[in-house]
C-alpha cells in the first residue's frame, strides 16, 4: 500500500509540474467565462432565455466533457505512458521497488485524480459564474451528482488512451489514434443507434439521468455496469501490455 501511495504521489507530482496543466487550467477558466458571458448576453439582450443558473453548470459540463476534458486527458495519459517510454524517463519509475501492477494502478489513479480535479474546478467556476448570469440559486446537489457521474465515462476514455499508448510506440501516433477512436465511437453511436448503448461515449451525458424530476435507477445501474465492464477489460488489457513491455 505504501508503494502504491508513493507511485501515486510521484505521478500526481509529475502531472502538476507539466506546463500542459497550466494551459488546461487557463483554458478551463476561459471556457467557463465565455459560456457565462454568452449566456448572460443572450438572456439579457436577445429577448430569449437559454438557460437558468442551474443549467449553466450543466451546459458547461456538456461542452467540456466532449471537448476540452477528453483533450487534456489524452495529453496526460499519452505523456504518462507513451511519453515516458519514448524519452526513457519511465526507467526511473520502473526501477523503483514497486511491482508493475502498483505502478500501473498508481498512474491510473493519478489520471483519475486529474479528471476529478478538472471537473471539480469547472463545477466550482461555473457555479460562481451562475450567480452572475442566472435567476435564483443553482441546484448544487444535482449539479454535484451530475459532475460525479460525468467522471466515470471520462475515466473509461482515459483507460482507452492508456491502452492505446501501451499498444502504439510513439506519442504522436498514440495521440492521433486516441482522438480517432474517440471520434469513431461518437460517430458509430450516431450512425448505428442500435449499438449506441454499448459504446462508452454514449454515456458521456448519462448525468442527465439525475437531472429530471424522475430518476431512473434501473437505467443508471445498467449504464454503470456497462462502464464497469469497460473498466475491467481496459484495465486488464492495458496492464497486460504494460507488464510485458521491455525498456
Amino acid at each position: 500500500m505504501n508503494k502504491l501511495k508513493a507511485v501515486y504521489l510521484n505521478e500526481v507530482y509529475k502531472i502538476s509540474k507539466k506546463k500542459k496543466i497550466t494551459v488546461a487550467a487557463v483554458l478551463s477558466v476561459v471556457a467557463v467565462a465565455v459560456a457565462a458571458v454568452a449566456v448572460y448576453l443572450v438572456n439579457n439582450f436577445s429577448g430569449i432565455r437559454v438557460t437558468g443558473s442551474s443549467e449553466l453548470s450543466i451546459l458547461v459540463l456538456q461542452v467540456m466533457s466532449y471537448t476540452l476534458i477528453p483533450l487534456f486527458v489524452t495529453f496526460v495519459a499519452v505523456d504518462m505512458f507513451g511519453g515516458e517510454f519514448s524519452d526513457v524517463t519511465m526507467k526511473i519509475t520502473l526501477t523503483a521497488p514497486a511491482t508493475r501492477l502498483k505502478i500501473y494502478l498508481g498512474k491510473i489513479l493519478a489520471i483519475a485524480s486529474f479528471i476529478a480535479a478538472n471537473l471539480l474546478a469547472i463545477m466550482v467556476l461555473s457555479l460562481i459564474a451562475s450567480f452572475f448570469v442566472g435567476i435564483g440559486m443553482p441546484n448544487v446537489v444535482r449539479i454535484f451528482f451530475a459532475y460525479v457521474l460525468a467522471f466515470f465515462p471520462l475515466l473509461i476514455y482515459a483507460m482507452t488512451v492508456v491502452l492505446i499508448s501501451n499498444l502504439i510506440r510513439g506519442t504522436t501516433g498514440a495521440f492521433m489514434v486516441s482522438i480517432l477512436v474517440f471520434l469513431l465511437f461518437i460517430g458509430a453511436g450516431i450512425l448505428f443507434p442500435q449499438i449506441k448503448s454499448f459504446l462508452f461515449t454514449a454515456s458521456f451525458d448519462w448525468y442527465r439521468l439525475v437531472l429530471g424530476s424522475f430518476i431512473n435507477v434501473g437505467k443508471l445501474l445498467r449504464v454503470f455496469m456497462i462502464l464497469a465492464g469497460y473498466a475491467v477489460m481496459l484495465f486488464g488489457c492495458g496492464f497486460y501490455l504494460f507488464e510485458k513491455r521491455d525498456l
Binding site: 505504501n2 508503494k3 508513493a6 507511485v7 504521489l9 510521484n10 507530482y13 509529475k14 509540474k17 507539466k18 506546463k19 524519452d87 526513457v88 524517463t89 526507467k91 526511473i92 519509475t93 520502473l94 526501477t95 523503483a96 521497488p97 514497486a98 511491482t99 508493475r100 510485458k244 521491455d246 525498456l247
Partner: protein, 239 residues
C-alpha cells in the same frame, strides 16, 4: 560468504539473434564487480534484466536472495541503479528528480538529498531544471539518485560516461568509500578498462553474449601486465 547477486542461466535473444545466452554469475557481498565486454556483447541486456526493465527468455536473477521475477519489490528494495544512460525528467529540477526516488523508499529526509548531491558535486545545481544539464552532470545526478536510499547493492551501467577526468576520479573514490565504509556491493559495467582495474576487486567478461572468465583483479594482475592484456587474451584478440 553470502551472495548479494546470483545470476542463473540468463538467456535473452533478440530477433537479430544477438543477446545473451546462459549467463551465470555470483557476486559476493562487498564485492566491486567489473563487467567487461565489447559493444553489443550483451552487458546492458543482462543489467536490464537484473533490474526488471526486461524479461529474460530463460533464467533468473536473485538479489539478496529474492527473485527479480517473482519478488521484485523485495529484490529491488536495497538496489540503486543506472542503466544505459541517465534520463532525468527534464521539466523538473535536480531536487525534484531526487524527490521522485526518495518517495519510493522509507525515511529518506531532504538532508539526505542534499548530502547525495554534495557527494556527487552538483549541490549548487539543486534547483536548476535538468533540461540544461550536460551529459556529465546528468551522470552525476544519476549516481546521486542511485545512492540516495543508501542501497546495499549498486548496479551501474557505464556510470562514468561523459564525465571529465576530475569527475571520474571523484566518483571512483566515492564508490571505493561506499564499499569500504558501508559494505556496498557494486556491479559495474564500463568500457573504461583502466577505471575498472583501479576500482574493482573482481572482473567478469561477457563476449558475444556468453560469459567468459571471472577472476579477482589481484590474481589477474599477478599473471598479466594489465587488465587490458587479460581482457584481450580472454577474447582471443591478437595484435
Amino acid at each position: 560468504m553470502d551472495n548479494a547477486i546470483v545470476i542463473n542461466g540468463l538467456t535473452k535473444k533478440y530477433k537479430n539473434s544477438r543477446g545473451i545466452e546462459d549467463v551465470s554469475l555470483t557476486i559476493e557481498r562487498g564485492d566491486i564487480f567489473g563487467f567487461l565486454g565489447p559493444n553489443g556483447a550483451g552487458k546492458t541486456t543482462a543489467m536490464k534484466i537484473m533490474v526488471g526493465l526486461m524479461k529474460p527468455d530463460r533464467g533468473n536473477v536473485l538479489i539478496n536472495g529474492f527473485s527479480i521475477l517473482t519478488d521484485y519489490e523485495k529484490a529491488m528494495q536495497s538496489v540503486g541503479c543506472i542503466i544505459e544512460s541517465v534520463n532525468p525528467l527534464t521539466y523538473m529540477t535536480a531536487y525534484e528528480n531526487m524527490k521522485l526516488v526518495a518517495r519510493m523508499h522509507d525515511h529518506v529526509p531532504d538532508a539526505r538529498i542534499d548530502e547525495c548531491l554534495e557527494q556527487t558535486g552538483i549541490l549548487k545545481f539543486k534547483n536548476e531544471r535538468t533540461k540544461n544539464f550536460s551529459l556529465g552532470m546528468k551522470q552525476r545526478l544519476g549516481i546521486a539518485m542511485a545512492i540516495l536510499p543508501n542501497p546495499k547493492i549498486l548496479i551501474l551501467d557505464e556510470p562514468l560516461n561523459g564525465m571529465d577526468v576530475e569527475g571520474m576520479v571523484e566518483m571512483r573514490l566515492l564508490f571505493l568509500r561506499m564499499a569500504k565504509e558501508g559494505g556496498t556491493t557494486f556491479f559495474i559495467s564500463s568500457h573504461l578498462i583502466h577505471d575498472i582495474e583501479l576500482t574493482c576487486n573482481k572482473v567478469g567478461i561477457l563476449y558475444q553474449g556468453k560469459r567468459l572468465g571471472v577472476e579477482t583483479t589481484e590474481s589477474i594482475l599477478q599473471n598479466y601486465a594489465s587488465l587490458e592484456n587479460y581482457y584481450l587474451s580472454e577474447v582471443g584478440f591478437n595484435e
